[in-house]
Each structure stands twice: as C-alpha cells, then as structure tokens.
C-alpha cells in the first residue's frame, strides 16, 4: 500500500475537474500534479508569478528564472505565462483560481484553518496562504489525519492562530474525505481502505455528519 501522502495526493487528484485553475501548496500538495486523471486538463498557478506550470525540467535544464513558490525549478506548458506578484494575487484573491490545495496544522468543524504558525515556535510567516484560502473558489485541506503525537488535526476548534476563518471546503486525509455544506457543516463522504466508520469517529475530534451514501473503501488501495 502507498504511503499516506501518496494516498492523499491521489484522492485529491481525482477531485480535479477539466479546465480548472489550481494552486498547489508546498510539500504534499505539490504531489497532486502527478495524479491528474486521464482526460482532465488543469492549469497550475504558482503565486510567485507563473501559470501553466508543467513538469520539472530534466536535470541540467533548470533555469534560475523559472521556479515555483517553493523554489523548485519548473517548466511552462504551451499557453503558460509569467506575471508580477500584484497581478498574481489579483488572480488568487479575485476568485479566478478554482481550487487551492494546502497542508495544515489544524482544521476545525467550522472550516477554520490554522496552518502558518505554532505559538512559541519560530515564525516563518503566512506567505500566500491567507490570500489563497480567502480567494480560491474551493479550498482543500490535504493533510494526514493526525499530528505526530497521534492527536486529531480535525478539531472542534483550532487552538493555533488562524490562516482563514470558515474557509475550508474539503478535507482529504489518508483515512477519509469530508465536504462542508452551508448550514450542515462537514459531511463524511468517503472512507479509505483499511478504515471503518468507527475508526474515523475515533480519530476525528471535529463534529461531522455521515453521508447517507457514504462510500467505504473509496480510495487508498
């Protein structure tokens, strides 16, 4: 069986729709580019100023003026282009980006996201994350279900400073997929191979409903 990150990225990839503009956060979210389904074309935006991000360049073909927000070398697909940071965040904040995929430290039942700072630890900064969760039409949290100490990342209420208030639309972990609906909160729609409904209940602190047609063994093979 694949590792947790691969399972999450693969399930997230299946959620992509043809023609979408997406932004992938640093780390796990970047892997989603490897799982775009056959017949689905998405356009990847990177907030440092490119759209139409393609595969990594072949070794030796890196170009220091062509990189993503994590400073990894990129190529552009035909039709891609470059722009400045003010224009980039016009694209993001202005709702022109269909979906953003971000890792997190915490997410809670109201859709609050906390993924930029651990109190007492070194400050890194929110980068573009606050703009992305505010502006993207659909905000995906793609993250392991539990923190290293085994506690649930899916909480009743975030305890760390927020990145965005009530912005999370979908949570995909290696164990389950939840979607948030207006007035209903999060609904458990899919459970991964190897887990039961009880397993999910046991490792999830946030409140959620279970969909009538919840799919078991829905992903993660």
């Amino acid at each position: 069986m694949a590792d947790a990150k691969t399972i999450i990225a693969a399930r997230a990839g299946r959620d992509l729709k043809d023609g979408q503009i997406i932004n992938l956060g640093i780390g796990l979210p970047t892997l989603i580019a490897n799982f775009v389904p056959e017949g689905v074309d998405v356009v990847i935006q990177t907030e440092n100023g490119a759209i139409g991000v393609g595969p990594a360049p072949a070794p030796g073909c890196e170009d220091r003026d062509r990189a993503n927000a994590g400073n990894q070398p990129i190529t552009l697909i035909p039709g891609g282009s470059y722009f400045d940071s003010a224009t980039s965040f016009a694209m993001i904040r202005g709702g022109h980006t269909d979906a953003t995929f971000l890792g997190t430290l915490q997410v809670d039942e109201k859709g609050n996201i906390a993924n930029w700072i651990v109190p007492g630890k070194m400050l890194a900064g929110m980068g573009g994350a606050m703009d992305l969760v505010t502006g993207a039409k659909t905000v995906y949290i793609v993250s392991e279900h539990c923190a290293k100490d085994g506690s649930s990342k899916l909480m009743k209420q975030c305890t760390f400073p927020l990145t965005g208030a009530e912005e999370c639309d979908v949570i995909i972990t290696e164990r389950a997929l939840f979607r948030r609906y207006p007035g209903k909160g999060f609904v458990l729609e899919e459970v991964a191979v190897g887990y039961t409904l009880d397993d999910i209940a046991a490792c999830t602190d946030m409140a959620y409903a279970v969909a009538d047609d919840v799919k078991l063994e829905a992903f993660g093979e």
């Binding site: 043809d18 023609g19 503009i21 074309d41 356009v43 935006q45 759209i51 139409g52 552009l76 697909i77 035909p78 039709g79 891609g80 282009s81 470059y82 722009f83 003010a86 224009t87 965040f89 016009a90 694209m91 993001i92 904040r93 202005g94 709702g95 022109h96 980006t97 505010t134 502006g135």
Partner: protein, 231 residues
C-alpha cells in the same frame, strides 16, 4: 493543455441578458470591441448598464447601442466624443454617471483583484465625493471607492491564443486590461489568433485566467498580423 475557449460569437454573446452590467474596453475607438458591439446590435437585450471610459467615437461604439435604446445607464469618464449621447441624456432616455478616469480604471482592477475598494485622493473637494464615504488617513482625505464587479466584459486584443492569453498593441491596451479582470464572463475579440505556445510567455498582457471566451474580430477591425509577434 489549457482549454480551447474559441467559440462562435453567438455562443459567447448568448451570456448577455437584459438588465446586465457590462464592462467595455477601449478608449474613444482605440481598441473598442466593435465586433462584439456589432453583434449586440443584433440582439434583443435592453436595460444594460455600461462601464466604459467613454461611449465610443463619433457614430461608432457603445453609442450605437444607446441609439437603439438598449442602454439604461453609462458610467464613464467622458462622453464628449459621441454627440448622440448628449441627445439621449437630454431626452431622458439615458442616465450618465461621470467618474474620474483613473477611478474607473481602478474600480475595475480592484473588483478583479478581489478587493472591496480603495481610497483615492482624486475628486476630494469636488462633486465626485458626493454620496461617497470619506476616510482620513494620516491627515489626508480620501474617497472610499467600492470595487466594481460586472456580469460581462467585452474587450478587443491584437493577438490572442486559444486559451485567451492576450497581447494588445499600442494605445489600444487602455481599459481592455482592467475590464477583462472585473467580470463574471469575459469575451475577447482577437484580431490575430495564435495556437498555444506561439505567444511569448513574458509578453502576455492579460492572462487567459481572466478570459472566458475568444472570438475572431471582424477583418475590417484588424491590423495586420506580424511575423513572430511579441507585442
């Protein structure tokens, strides 16, 4: 591969309905989307609200839609180049709201950028501040201008690819760039259509992310396609 947005003009323009707000690119004829305006002339729509720098030049441009009775209101910086506009106003057939040119451009950009509004010093102490919220920052007074969001934008570009990346030529760029940002559905007529990858990725003025439909401009409104066009 980025989606092919080249569609028949009928299909693109079918998104326009009576009562809608439309941002229009161009500047007294420079870069006005005349192909799309010509098509609007044939459509059965009315009560349009137009946001544009002007109403065209002489007898051409949005002024033609005004003469047809399709336009309820124009928000513009200047309508002096189209005499028929004054006549329509005087006869009570058209409402015109004058807005400083820089304010109008910024309203469009701001709406496209997901901002709620901006503070401008332009118009302080004039009737441009009437009915507006004023905010003082560090001793200077500003008008709070809300961002503009429109239902539709119609624009013209000199070159475009099938995904809607656009390059403008000369002073025809003007309001076409901010207009393309602020609308739910953006239709670009392009004088010269290129395949993906033909346009220099460093030279794109309006990214295809802002554009929903690409239509060929009527040949009479086109300037010549240049070899290896880069802007």
């Amino acid at each position: 591969m980025p989606k092919n947005k080249v569609v028949p003009i009928e299909e693109a323009m079918s998104h326009v309905e009576s009562g809608m707000s439309i941002a229009v690119g161009g500047f007294i004829g420079q870069g006005d989307p005349l192909t799309l305006i010509d098509h609007l002339k044939l459509m059965d729509v009315k009560d349009l609200t137009i946001y544009e720098n002007d109403a065209g030049y002489g007898e051409r441009g949005v002024v033609e839609l005004v003469k047809q009775g399709k336009v309820k209101k124009i928000v513009a910086s200047h309508v002096g180049t189209t005499p028929a506009i004054g006549k329509a106003m005087n006869e009570g057939r058209l409402e015109v709201e004058a807005t400083p040119q820089g304010t109008l451009a910024e309203m469009m950009r701001c709406g496209g950028a997901g901002l709620g509004g901006f503070l401008t010093p332009t118009g302080i102490g004039t009737i441009a501040e009437e009915g507006k919220q004023l905010i003082t920052l560090e001793g200077r007074k500003y008008i709070l201008v809300p961002a503009l969001k429109c239902d539709i934008a119609i624009i013209r570009a000199h070159a475009g690819d099938t995904w809607g990346n656009l390059i403008f030529r000369g002073t025809s760029r003007n309001f076409n760039v901010p207009a393309a940002m602020c609308a739910d559905y953006v239709i670009a007529e392009v004088e010269n259509l290129y395949t993906l990858g033909e346009l220099d990725p460093n030279a794109i003025h309006t990214s295809g992310i802002f554009v929903d439909a690409v239509v060929r401009a009527n040949v009479e409104y086109c300037t010549i396609r240049e070899e290896k066009f880069n802007g």
